[in-house]
Symmetry: C2
Subunit: 200 residues, 2 copies
C-alpha cells in the first residue's frame, strides 16, 4: 500500500489501544501521535478530528458485527441461539479492546458516541428481538422481555465490560475458541430466553 494507509492504520491501532486503556477523554491526540510515531497534525489530516478518529473505530466494529446478526437472521432453518452466541462471542473476543471501549463510551450520557451509535444499537436490539422472541413480528416488546434481553446482552458483554474479572492472557485463536466453548456452555444454562420465547 501507499504510505497513507500505513500511517492511518498505525494511528487507528494505537488509538484503539489507548482509548481502551485510558478512555476517550483520557487520551490526548498527542499521546496517540507520540505512541504511533507520527505528527500530531496527521490525525486531523486523516480523521478531521479526534472524534472522527473515534468514529472510524466505531464503524469498523459495528458494521461487521451487525452483518453477523443479519446473516443469522436470514438462515432461518438451522438457527440456534447457541450458534449465535458463539459467533458473537468469537467476534467480540477477537476485537476485545474495541468491544470494551465502545460499550464503555456508550454508557456515558452526553458524549457524541451515543448520538453517533444509537442507530447501530437500535438495529442490534431489533435483530435480537426478532431472533430471540418473535421472528418477523412487530409486536411491542414488554417489560419482562426487555429485562430478559438486557440479561442476555449482559451475559454477552460481561467479559468485555469487566476486564478486572477476565482477561485472556494468551489471546491465540486456540485460547479464544476455548473461551467461546466454555462461556457459551455456561450461557446455555440460562433458560429465560427459551422460556419467554416458548410462551408466545
Amino acid at each position: 500500500m501507499n504510505r497513507q494507509n500505513v500511517t492511518r492504520d498505525k494511528v487507528l491501532d494505537v488509538a484503539c489501544r489507548l482509548f481502551y486503556s485510558n478512555g476517550f477523554k483520557g487520551t490526548s491526540v498527542r499521546d496517540i501521535a507520540k505512541e504511533a510515531n507520527v505528527n500530531v497534525s496527521l490525525i486531523s489530516y486523516y480523521f478531521n478530528s479526534k472524534q472522527g478518529l473515534f468514529e472510524s473505530l466505531a464503524v469498523s466494529y459495528f458494521e461487521p458485527y451487525l452483518e453477523i446478526l443479519e446473516n443469522e437472521q436470514l438462515s432461518e432453518v438451522d438457527f440456534t441461539i447457541d450458534s449465535l452466541v458463539r459467533k458473537i462471542l468469537h467476534y467480540k473476543q477477537t476485537n476485545y479492546q474495541l468491544s470494551c471501549l465502545l460499550y464503555r463510551e456508550l454508557s456515558l450520557n452526553t458524549i457524541f458516541a451515543k448520538e453517533m451509535l444509537v442507530t447501530y444499537l437500535a438495529k442490534e436490539n431489533h435483530l435480537f428481538s426478532q431472533l430471540l422472541f418473535q421472528k418477523s413480528s412487530h409486536r411491542e416488546i414488554n417489560y419482562k422481555e426487555k429485562l430478559c434481553l438486557l440479561q442476555f446482552k449482559g451475559l454477552l458483554n460481561a467479559p468485555f465490560m469487566m476486564p478486572n474479572d477476565f482477561m485472556d492472557p494468551y489471546f491465540t485463536e486456540a485460547s479464544i475458541n476455548h473461551f467461546v466453548k466454555v462461556y457459551s456452555e455456561l450461557m446455555s444454562n440460562y433458560k429465560s430466553v427459551q422460556k419467554l420465547a416458548a410462551r408466545v
Copy 2:
C-alpha cells in the same frame, strides 16, 4: 447541620450526577462547582483534589455494599442465592448512578480508580466465591468457575452498565421493587451457578 456539610453534600451529589453523565475525565471541577453553586476552590478545600472527591463517592458506595455481602455470609442457615441477588439488585438500583459510574471507571486500565478500588473488588470476589461455590474453603477457583462468576456478576451489573437498554423512568420504591422482582426471577433461570456448586 452546620454549613460545611450542606456544601459538601451538595458537591458530592452534583459530582455523582455529572460523573455518571460525562465520566470522570469528562467532568471538570468547574462544571461541578458551577452546577452546585459553590466556589471552585471549595472542592480542593473539602476533598483535597478531584480524585479525592471521586474517592469519597467510591467509598460511600462500596462500604455498605460489601457489608451486605458479609452479612449474607454470616447468616449461613437461611442463605439462598435468590435473596442475595435481590438484596444486591435493590442496593444497586437505589444507588443507580454510582453503580454505573464506578464500574465504568473500573473498566479503565490506568486510572487511579483501579488501584484505589482493587481491594474492594478482591473482597467482593472472595465473598462471591465463598457464597456461590465453596463455603470456607481456600481452593483456587478454576477457569470454568471464574467464567461462571463473571456471568453472575455480568447479570447483576447489566442494568447499570448498559443504560441505553434499561433506565427506570419512575425510580420510586415501588418501581425498584418491581424491577428487582422481575429481574431476579429471570435470573433464577440461570442454572450454571447451582450446577457448578453441586458438582463439588
